[in-house]
């Protein structure tokens, strides 16, 4: 199937742009390395509508994490514009809540104190923030673990603490970078259910960065497929699966078709990435052909 910028634009009708809560406009990100200029993100544009679940999928090294940090306001020095509800971001924005791929709970705080962290920063009184924290702990299904330390929890539970902590700041947009990457497949599916359920209950606008096709199809309204170096938008795919969804949808025929379609797009990119890795392992420090 031929790829052209127009196919990428196809799935972003103007209606969405009009009332979009998040607009990512022509983002370009280059890094100077001793081997030359690396184009991590190349002219990426898309929008997210309120309440929508959008996933960005791509092989490792396609600039997904760079995009995550740019939208989160943690990385500067790019060209283009990111706007949240019409406001151009210049740094971390109060309307965007980030969930990181790495283990990011504070090991010295209990579950409650971890979740209450963003509330503490804005100076909410102790009693009130503990109440709020408890609410979000229940939401992610960790009631009973309020006074435990992260070290006493499993990886999946710790990631739920991170999620609850971000939700507690009540962001307009939930921005997640491969939050389940370090978990096993079953935990990942069940946790996906939890996220889906919360997202549907709260009508939470969500932007998920991932390399996992199943996860993306299971949860998203739309999936943006990125190319390997330079990271461009290859295609945006609408996922017309019924809601509310759970992980049971993974068995359905329609689900399989979407997975196959996206894999067809990704396969080429991923194998390019693999060849690249191999040539770099063979010629470390050398210029790429």
């Amino acid at each position: 199937m031929p790829i052209s910028p127009s196919t990428a634009d196809r799935a972003a009708p103007s209606r969405r742009t009009a009332d979009a809560i998040l607009t990512v406009g022509n983002i370009d990100m280059r890094f100077e390395t001793p081997d030359g200029t690396l184009v991590a993100v190349d002219d990426v544009s898309f929008t997210v509508a309120p309440g929508e679940f959008l996933s960005v999928i791509g092989p490792s090294g396609c600039g997904k994490s760079t995009l995550f940090n740019v939208i989160g306001g943690l990385l500067g020095g790019y060209q283009g514009r990111v706007t949240v509800a019409g406001e151009t971001i210049t740094g971390p924005h109060a309307s965007i809540g980030m969930v990181f791929q790495e283990e990011s709970t504070f090991p010295w705080r209990t579950v409650t104190d971890n979740v209450a962290f963003p509330l503490e920063l804005i100076g909410m009184p102790k009693q009130k923030r503990i109440e709020r924290a408890r609410h979000f702990i229940r939401l992610v299904g960790l009631d009973g673990f309020e006074n435990r330390y992260p070290g006493e929890l499993s990886g999946g539970m710790r990631q739920r603490v991170s999620l609850a902590r971000t939700l507690a700041s009540e962001p307009k947009i939930l921005l997640m970078d491969e939050p389940f990457a370090a978990l096993d497949e079953q935990t990942r599916l069940l946790l996906g259910d939890k996220v889906l359920q919360i997202q549907q209950d709260l009508k939470q606008t969500t932007l998920l960065i991932t390399h996992n096709i199943t996860e993306a199809v299971q949860m998203s309204d739309r999936i943006l497929v990125m190319t390997y170096r330079p990271g461009k938008v290859k295609r945006i795919v609408d996922i017309d699966l019924p809601r509310p969804r759970t992980s049971e949808i993974v068995g359905s025929e329609a689900f399989g078709r979407y997975v196959a379609q996206i894999w067809a797009d990704l396969r080429e990119e991923a194998s390019r990435g693999m060849q690249d890795d191999e040539s770099r392992a063979l010629h470390p420090g050398g210029a790429r052909p």
Partner: protein, 264 residues
Amino acid sequence: MAETVRVKPAAHSALRLSPVTLLRVAIVLTLLACWELLAASGWLYRDVVPSLLAIGGAVYELLSHGEYYFNLGVTAGEIGVALLIGGTGGLLVGLALGANRFLSKAFESYLYYLGPTPKIIFFPIMIMWFGVGPGSKVAMGTISCFFPIVLSVAAGMRQIDKVLIRVGKSFRAGTWQMVMKIYLPAMRHPIINGVRLGLGVALIGTLLAETKLSNKGIGFLIIQAYSLFDMPRMYAMLIVLFVLSIGANALVGRLGGLDSIKRF
């Protein structure tokens, strides 16, 4: 019936000592017995190995006189001031080195390689600079504890999980909030560990300086006992000193929650 069967062995093991405790008691008793035999045998020249009774008497003698507490106070004061100066300096320099890669590349290797050099050899210089009184002892303690504290604070700052800093920034924490709620708690263990190491070497630096040249302090008492050849008193002082310093070390660790480090 089933219950009594379950309870019985439990009651037994509560009364019985664990093998570890038994072994410990056995080791201690064996060592003490060997010591006492050696003391009674007279194989070593007089008083090098005094009898346990003599040492016990000396400990009692030592602790029941105000003189010891006065000298203990002098030494503790010197170590305290040394820790305060060396610790504050070490913390500030360590934070600067940990935060700034350029500073660390320019200067940290000097501190790193000066760290494990013998510090007591600076004592003649410290006497010239700060006199023969407590000043030079404080200086010895200070330069001793400065190095381990700088190095562990700098390393601790660099070892902070970068994602935690990104979390703080993503929630738009201010500089003060970042320091108080993320940097310092995340560095608590390396800081406490640095203070613990610093306390150990400050103690050694100060006391050795006292044994070399002073007229008060625990180090002075030890060298005085040596020159009077009062071996039981010297043993007594070493025993009390070891107990105090091991206790102080454990206390710093406990205060910093180092024993709960495994939970993380």
